[in-house]
């Protein structure tokens, strides 16, 4: 993508911004296709869309090296893509095809990819907190300078194991960052009904560095993530980042009628006032780093790319039935 006028910003900054914009659009286009696959009844099971939360995954993952680790959640497509996963293998996995990241054995909630440091999405709420902490343990022990990011939803604050591993991470000074996406709901219940006290204090109580950030502002997320990652890499221990965000769609693709737990007005407000892509796009134009046309072009490019990836996945074959018993033991 070419930029119009000469921006005053350093070129690498500009590159980063455009890359982050492109990544956010990629995630949204990917998820739009997932929803499409579901409504066309082409996808087995359900999926949890990340639309609306793109700035969190992109802002954080852009602060990581390819060799750094992440663990993800049931709402994990965005994290995987932001860490470098390719759409075609992801779609193939979502359809249970052999060409998928997990040979079709994992599906939407279990995308894993060693090549991009993705230790795996997880369908157990907070199920990957131990794994991420352990990856940081290896990094420290093997002195390979890596950092681990553990993405969790605010619902994971209900799981005791989170406090166990934060305590361990601080005791062992491990390079792990717990990124908590507070999208206000745990399935169909507002987080305030299930979360007493103060979220950040739950982390500082165990000695972690903690901060909260506007999860709809990709630059803000990236700045604070970079600081925390750098701090962890330098051996100064774990951190907790609370990102305030919102999911536009239902808890999963089948969650259509949502009025009983949240209002249409609330949804509208977030979509119109606080959309991470629209707002960032507007800002890029203001900074004359990009113009509307070039941004529109990104959109259409990625839409085509995603459509092609979907076609690849649909055409791809299922694994052979005899493969069912493979990979149980290494």
């Amino acid at each position: 993508m070419t930029t119009v006028t000469q921006p005053k910003e350093a070129p690498e900054k500009v590159e980063l911004w455009l890359r982050m914009y492109r990544q956010m659009v990629a995630i949204r286009q990917f998820e739009a296709q997932v929803n499409e696959l579901y409504t066309r009844a082409l996808m087995p099971g359900l999926a949890h869309l990340y639309i609306g939360e793109e700035a969190v995954a992109v802002g954080v993952c852009e602060a990581l090296e390819r060799t750094d680790y992440i663990t993800s959640t049931h709402r994990g497509h965005g994290h995987c893509l932001a860490k470098g996963a390719s759409a075609d293998q992801m779609f193939a996995e979502l359809l249970g095809k052999k060409a998928g990241y997990c040979k079709g054995k994992g599906g939407s909630m279990h995308i894993a990819d060693p090549a991009t440091g993705n230790l795996g999405a997880n369908a157990i709420v907070c199920g990957s907190a131990g794994i991420a902490t352990g990856a940081a343990f290896s990094a420290r022990h093997l002195r390979n300078g890596r950092v681990a990011v553990c993405f969790i939803g605010e619902g994971a604050l209900g799981q005791g194991v989170l406090y166990e591993v934060m305590n361990l991470a601080q005791l062992f000074k491990l390079p792990v960052i717990y990124v908590c996406e507070n999208n206000l709901y745990t399935e169909y219940t507002h987080y305030s009904e299930t979360t007493a006290g103060d979220i950040l204090t739950r982390a500082t109580a165990f000695g972690l560095e903690a901060a909260s950030v506007d999860g709809q502002d990709v630059r803000a997320v990236h700045d604070i993530a970079e600081r925390m990652v750098d701090r962890a890499r330098r051996g100064n221990g774990p951190a907790f980042l609370l990102c305030n965000t919102y999911r536009y769609h239902g808890h999963h693709v089948g969650d259509i009628n949502r009025e009983y737990y949240r209002s249409k007005q609330e949804e509208q407000l977030w979509k119109t006032e606080r959309d991470p892509i629209a707002n960032f796009g507007k800002w890029l134009v203001e900074q004359s780093v990009a113009d509307p046309a070039s941004l529109a072009q990104v959109q259409s490019e990625l839409e085509l790319e995603m459509k092609a990836a979907v076609d690849f996945a649909i055409a791809a074959p299922y694994p052979g039935v005899d493969e069912v018993a493979e990979d149980v033991y290494a």
Binding site: G104, G155, Q159, T186, T189, V321
Partner: protein, 335 residues
């Protein structure tokens, strides 16, 4: 049997899910100490919508949404049960009982015994089981064998709407911790359910189909599979008896053994992992009890020894099917 007598009076049909809701509503009306707690049980009525309407009738004090803290609210229920309540906890997916094992096994199951019989834990844990829902390895397990192994717990696996209502009501009235496993795939299954207040006693197996040539002992959703296979078998002249233990503990060994003695052949079906699972116990009970009458080894059919895969063609071969049971039964009968 209570079944027939009651069935006679009333042939209303409900789904498996509706029968469970009715059992809870009836018991909550009868006893103010019965309350429900779990994730998204209130406004949402659970993701499976099994509890819809209970909040409206009984209010937030008795239908409580909890944080995602399976260990925490299960432990809370143990203490509440010891001190005058009859809590029913809802563990959304059976895969999550992994998080409740200490509360259920080291606490709930042992309180009565360790206290020399002084404290009681009249609580019920409702949870789910069953694969083929395309939910992958962490949302498809049937882990009931673990709880069956634990002294102090009772374990129920209902297979019909009628049994579900009667057994759940009996569980809520029981003075012990009871775990009630519901197959996610059966919630829409319809069957006759009397509107009357009846219970089905724990520890009494039910012969779902009378037959002469082979016994199919089946639990939960496998009962439907067994009945389907029995129909196929009938077409080739094999008469299969389908026996549903209904409760894994207490276990009605006598009915299982007598059926096997009568038919001299048996297959045991359960959707849990076959290895070291429920099929092992049932098969061994029959192999011992009907030793001198069996014409062939007891055949076990459970889930494959693999984590449940997501990919549909793979997932479908991990659990016993009508066709597979049909073939196994035919082979066992030497046809």
């Amino acid at each position: 049997m209570p079944e027939n007598s009651v069935r006679a009076q009333d042939d209303r049909e409900l789904t498996f899910g509706q029968a469970i809701r009715e059992a809870l509503a009836e018991e909550m009306r009868r006893d103010a100490t019965v309350c429900i707690m779990g994730e998204d049980v209130a406004e949402a009525g659970t993701p499976f919508k099994v509890l819809s309407g209970l909040l409206e009738e009984f209010g937030k004090e008795r239908v409580l949404d909890t944080p995602i803290s399976e260990a925490g609210f299960t432990g809370l229920a143990v203490g509440a049960a010891m001190t005058g309540m009859r809590p029913v906890v809802d563990i959304m997916f059976g895969d999550f009982i992994t998080l409740t094992m200490d509360q259920m096994v080291n606490q709930a199951a042992k309180v009565h015994y360790m206290s020399g019989g002084k404290w009681r834990v009249p609580m019920v844990m409702r949870t789910t089981m069953g694969a083929t829902r395309r939910s992958a390895a962490q949302h498809s397990q049937s882990l009931h064998a673990w709880y069956c192994h634990v002294p102090g717990l009772k374990v129920i696996l209902p297979s019909t709407p009628y049994d579900a209502k009667g057994l759940l009501k009996a569980a809520i009235r029981d003075e012990n911790p009871v775990v009630f496993f519901e197959d996610k795939m059966m919630y829409k299954l319809k069957g006759p359910v009397p509107s009357s207040d009846y219970t089905v006693p724990l520890g009494v197996a039910d012969i779902k189909r009378v037959g002469e040539d082979i016994t199919l002992v089946a639990t939960s959703s496998m009962v439907q599979v067994a009945l389907g296979a029995a129909t196929l078998l009938e077409e080739i002249g094999i008469s299969a008896e389908v026996v549903d233990p209904r409760t894994m503990w207490p276990l009605d060994e006598k009915t299982l053994i007598e059926s096997a003695k009568k038919t001299s052949r048996a297959i045991v079906l359960d959707e849990g992992y076959e290895r070291y699972g429920v099929t092992a116990e049932l098969a061994s009970v029959i192999a011992t009890g009907a030793f001198y009458d069996l014409d062939a080894p007891v055949k076990r059919m459970g889930a494959m020894h693999v984590p449940i895969p997501f990919s549909p063609p793979l997932e479908d071969v991990t659990v016993p099917t009508e066709q597979a049971v049909f073939e196994a039964a035919r082979a066992l009968c030497g046809r």
